[in-house]
Subunit: 202 residues, 4 copies
């Protein structure tokens, strides 16, 4: 939480950077644009951040610690339908849409060594698994099962949800969907997942 002028400015720079990076990509966003968006001098950014990458790293740190807190909160023991839990999850991640898009874009570049996006989802999956285990919903997991679980959650659980969140707007515009319809279709698809449905058809 910002306490003085400097911290407030820093926060505003991060907010502007998050917006602009998600709109134009990291490389497509100039320090000039960020400064203009915040309404400060370009040089001032360098008072608060070492360089452009430092802004990126700060955004990453922020979302990571946010996710730590979030998972603690969301996974208290409660009797809740799985579907409702997923809806809440989607809600939470929707608020992180921008930063998730940024992290994904960066992680997709094969030429750098950033695995921001993978780290981020790893945190979510592991934290959630931890709390599930604590609640006694399942027994202990052996190492191989853990690996399988992470792969499974990542690619067939998280990826559908996060790509839905990231592409929702463009999808609606491209296919002339309204958002509500897409959401319902997606939920049906997700619950009633892929190959399972295939089997029913045959």
């Amino acid at each position: 939480m910002p306490k003085n002028d400097g911290d407030i400015t820093k926060e505003r720079i991060l907010k502007a950077a998050e917006k602009l990076f998600s709109e134009e990509g990291f490389d497509g966003t100039s320090m000039d644009k960020i400064a203009k968006d915040v309404g400060i001098n370009k040089g001032s950014i360098y008072y608060h951040f070492k360089d452009k990458n430092d802004i990126m790293a700060s955004l990453f740190k922020k979302i990571l610690s946010d996710m730590y807190e979030h998972v603690d909160y969301i996974s208290r023991p409660m009797k809740e339908r799985l579907e409702d839990k997923i809806k809440r999850e989607i809600q939470y991640l929707s608020d992180k849409k921008r930063i998730l898009s940024i992290l994904f874009m960066e992680t997709l570049k094969s030429g750098n060594n950033t695995d921001y996006f993978i780290q981020c989802l790893e945190v979510m999956i592991k934290k959630e698994l931890d709390s599930t285990l604590k609640n006694g919903n399942v027994g202990e997991l052996i190492e191989e099962d853990l690996e399988k679980y992470i792969v499974y959650e990542f690619f067939t659980g998280m990826m559908p949800i996060i790509s839905f969140i990231m592409l929702k707007d463009k999808w609606c515009e491209y296919f002339k969907y309204d958002e509500k319809k897409l959401f319902e279709h997606f939920m049906e698809a997700f619950v009633n997942s892929h190959l399972k449905a295939h089997k029913f058809n045959k």
Copy 2:
């Protein structure tokens, strides 16, 4: 098919651009780098392409027509296990890894109007559906069902596969997996999809 020197150069520019865009992103790749990679003069690129966006558009056109051809080929009627079909699909898409990453990165930017990635997957899904219908595996589809089908295939079918392909290398490095193990885990997860497995656990 390139016929003369000019076409060959054009092809080489596209190949270099595809490599570099996927490594550093579109904005992170300069015309200079492309020219150097091809081994030609920077100005020459402008003989073959109007501007940088034109290179991008050409890459998009190429993958789109490639997908048209591919789907015609892959979906001939044959008795094949679903799992094997998926493996072939993954194989095909793996060869397109670079361009898919590029298109995805661009589509993630909310500030431009490119929906390259969505268009691309739409083609794949629709072409495949067409051929499935022709083969008489299912009856006619009403409009709403078609929409649901596309959403379903896109987010819970294609997205897991494509994100697996795009993130495979970074995943293996980050988690110290070998490729084979990841592939097996992924296949198991994908076949045995998400919520279905959840049900089995309880």
Copy 3:
């Protein structure tokens, strides 16, 4: 002599500036670097000095008054071998190596009007001459002789010594000399000076 905190800080700034200017040149040294080196806030420098040039001017003033004091001290009447006197001179100037380098660099720029270095050596030469005259070693000097004397002392006396001091380290590294050998060679060369030796060879 620094008396309170403020003066101490001022002294520390000068010390840091002297070090950094001699390492990277005046233009190559930023106020930031100086502040960081001193361990104070950049703004604080401006409490003690009007601007960057003021730091330079202060360094110059300091060395000038130091030289006044030094010459008074060194040139008391004593029976000392010329060679020993020169050695003492070299010793004294070695301690001023940094500031002499800085002043020389600045004076070499033809585009500004600084003649720091010339002034500095003028003081040394004149003070020494004064004391020599007082000691009655020579008679009165007419104006033209004074001019000749200064030219002579400056270019064939001071310049060899000072360039030896300024270039010593780089020379040793470049030619793989050890410092002692260079010093001996230099002393021999200096005592046994240039054209004289030429004559002996023939």
Copy 4:
């Protein structure tokens, strides 16, 4: 020798850089100033030179090869008074005044690893020695004598001359000398060198 437009531009950049570096120092000269002085676009400089240091390095290379050629020319066997030879030498070096000042300034910075100036004078001294030896003026030189000779020539021969050349203008302005008088005084001092004169006084 420049053959086409590009080479001419390159040559003009070098000329402007030499002038500006000598006026304001390397760090004090911006690429902007150079471009403006040449009358070209700033970006164009980067077509011809990798970066600012590359310009510096090119200037250094140029003077070095110029010196190689010069010494070959100047040291043909001839019966010439030493004094006249020195005058010719001074004449030659006067034309190199700018670049010598630049190289000296850079070499004076202890923080970088450039020994441009030392290398430069080493070439002059060694080439001249070579030709002197060939002319049979002296016998063979053993290693230690060579070292002594270089030290001797460098500090008591070259340094007075080059500092005279570099400081001449400022000296005349500061002391209100006219150039001719300074030259005569310097020649007298140089011929009649330092300690020798001291001895005569006593």
